[in-house]
């Protein structure tokens, strides 16, 4: 279906850079069961990224892009920060917003898309850093949730302002000393997942990106619930290895250490009652679909 919509003009096909040819040939657009397992075997929706080598944000990006249920009809809204370095390499429509404004822009965008394309499902996904989500953009973040805007907010929580060299953020841990915050944080990490729940989000998850299958499940749920029911919020620990003094290959272990049951990124999930019901219906339909496909395969 969707590949029909991204055709290169045959007469100019040969001059297109190979990235674009690959995208049309072997991206997973339109594949119903797309997911993290497609990474490496089909065209990924991200090119080489320009983040620091080994930055966990790059893993997070890959898993998220592989898990979007409807990438060809998804618009992502980004904000300034390390994440914004990646968006130019992403093969999903995206908008760069003024720092902090991302949830306001996404609100207007989602509404405009519903008016412009009433018969087509269009997903909007915000992806911004903790500084953008929790500090400078907190007003816009919360107001979108209060208004029950139907889109997903993903926060890449690296617990500081990484792109500008390490200033204190609301999501930084108490006592943490950063390169540009030498006194140390004087108050606790803001409990945004709980605030999200109280502000009307229907699905809230706080976790790391150490497990691709988990990220896939969480992203899929959050986008589908936002589409049908109301706002969702995902807070992902994507440690800034540069700022916490880790080497490129140590990001994964850092995430594993921080998701232990007593740690601040132990998996936490909140699902509202309507969202629970929706997920149960979805699971039942999925089971039915898979059983039918199996039966069909058996007959063939």
């Amino acid at each position: 279906m969707s590949k029909e919509r991204i055709k290169i003009s045959p007469d100019l096909y040969d001059i297109m850079p190979s990235d674009y040819q690959d995208l049309v040939q072997s991206a997973t657009y339109g594949k119903e069961d797309r997911g993290w397992k497609d990474i490496g075997t089909s065209k990924e929706l991200i090119e080489q990224h320009s983040l620091c080598a080994g930055c966990p944000e790059s893993m997070a990006f890959r898993y998220i892009l592989a898990s979007l249920p409807n990438p060809e009809d998804t618009v992502m809204v980004g904000s300034t920060g390390c994440t914004s370095l990646v968006f130019p390499m992403v093969a999903v429509h995206n908008i760069h917003s003024l720092f902090g404004n991302q949830n306001a822009i996404a609100s207007g965008l989602k509404r405009a898309l519903s008016v412009r394309f009433p018969d087509r499902v269009k997903d909007v996904v915000v992806l911004a850093g903790d500084g953008a989500t929790v500090d400078i953009g907190l007003d816009m973040t919360l107001q979108a949730w209060f208004r029950q805007e139907k889109f997903t907010t993903i926060c890449f929580d690296n617990e500081l302002y990484a792109n500008t060299g390490g200033q204190e953020s609301g999501l930084m841990q108490k006592g943490f000393v950063a390169k540009m915050a030498p006194v140390g944080k004087l108050f606790d990490k803001v409990r945004l997942p709980e605030i999200a729940r109280e502000s009307g989000c229907h699905y809230v998850v706080n976790c790391t990106v150490s497990k691709p299958s988990l990220v896939e499940k969480v992203i899929r749920n959050s986008v589908l619930i936002a589409r049908e029911i109301g706002p969702t919020y995902i807070q992902l620990y994507t440690p800034c290895i540069l700022e916490i003094g880790k080497n490129s290959m140590e990001g994964l272990q850092e995430m594993r250490d921080s998701e232990k049951p007593t740690e601040r990124f132990a998996y936490k999930e909140y699902v509202s009652e309507p969202a629970k019901q929706f997920l149960a219906e979805l699971a039942a339909k999925d089971k039915e679909r898979k059983a039918a496909a199996k039966q069909l395969a058996g007959k063939a």
Partner: protein, 211 residues
């Protein structure tokens, strides 16, 4: 006050938008050369002459023709290809026509490969690298074309032609409007017509690069 003219640069780091200098767009049936409104026919001749004179005449097709959004886009792409083939047929030894796509508008700096693509936010990388001294934009959305044409005028001496599907571009040195398959092919006819009558600038080693 002297009248501003849209001429090959390098003008300076931030050239003014030609519109702000009093250059206005042609009406249907007209075109502009250096900001002066002319009958369209005259612009075909001048564009053909510029192409035949250039050492590296280049066509930059943008997303509106590279992607087959609809049948019309694919037909325009076929016409662009034809134009390129004609150009190759009509140039003299030493001239090197090119066809380089602008598939995307997102700033890819610094990862662009100037041999295979051009990006509107830093078009000069492709122009400098390939020593392009005459280029034509086609199928590039207006806001990106204007930005890019201005950057080219600012930092290179490349002659710019816009085959615009809307009302034309003040920031190009020569602009058509209401581009269609017929107009693209008509430019091809003019190139054929002038074949062998225009002396290419082969001797000037320094063509487009300003630094």
């Amino acid at each position: 006050m002297t009248q501003y003219r849209v001429l090959p640069g390098p003008e300076h780091f931030l050239p003014p938008a030609a519109a702000s200098m009093g250059i206005y767009l042609p009406n249907p049936g007209e075109a502009h050369i250096n900001g002066v409104i002319v009958p369209e026919e005259k612009a075909y001749e001048e564009a053909a002459r510029q192409f035949l004179m250039a050492q590296v005449p280049t066509i930059f097709p943008g997303p509106l023709v590279l992607w087959a959004w609809n049948e019309k886009a694919a037909k325009k792409a076929a016409a662009v290809r034809k134009l390129y083939e004609i150009l190759k047929e009509c140039v003299q030894p030493g001239q090197k026509p090119m066809l380089i796509p602008m598939p995307d508008y997102r700033p890819k700096y610094p990862k662009i490969n100037p041999e295979v693509e051009i990006n509107p936010n830093h078009p000069n990388l492709t122009i400098w690298h390939n020593k392009i001294d005459c280029c034509m934009f086609i199928g590039v959305h207006c806001h990106q074309a204007n930005l890019s044409l201005k950057i080219i005028r600012g930092g290179t001496s490349c002659y710019t032609v816009a085959m615009c599907a809307q009302a034309g571009h003040e920031d190009a040195m020569l602009s058509f409007r209401d581009a269609s398959v017929e107009k693209i092919l008509k430019l091809g006819e003019w190139i054929r017509k002038l074949k062998g009558t225009v002396k290419p600038r082969l001797t000037t080693a320094k063509t487009s690069a300003s630094n």
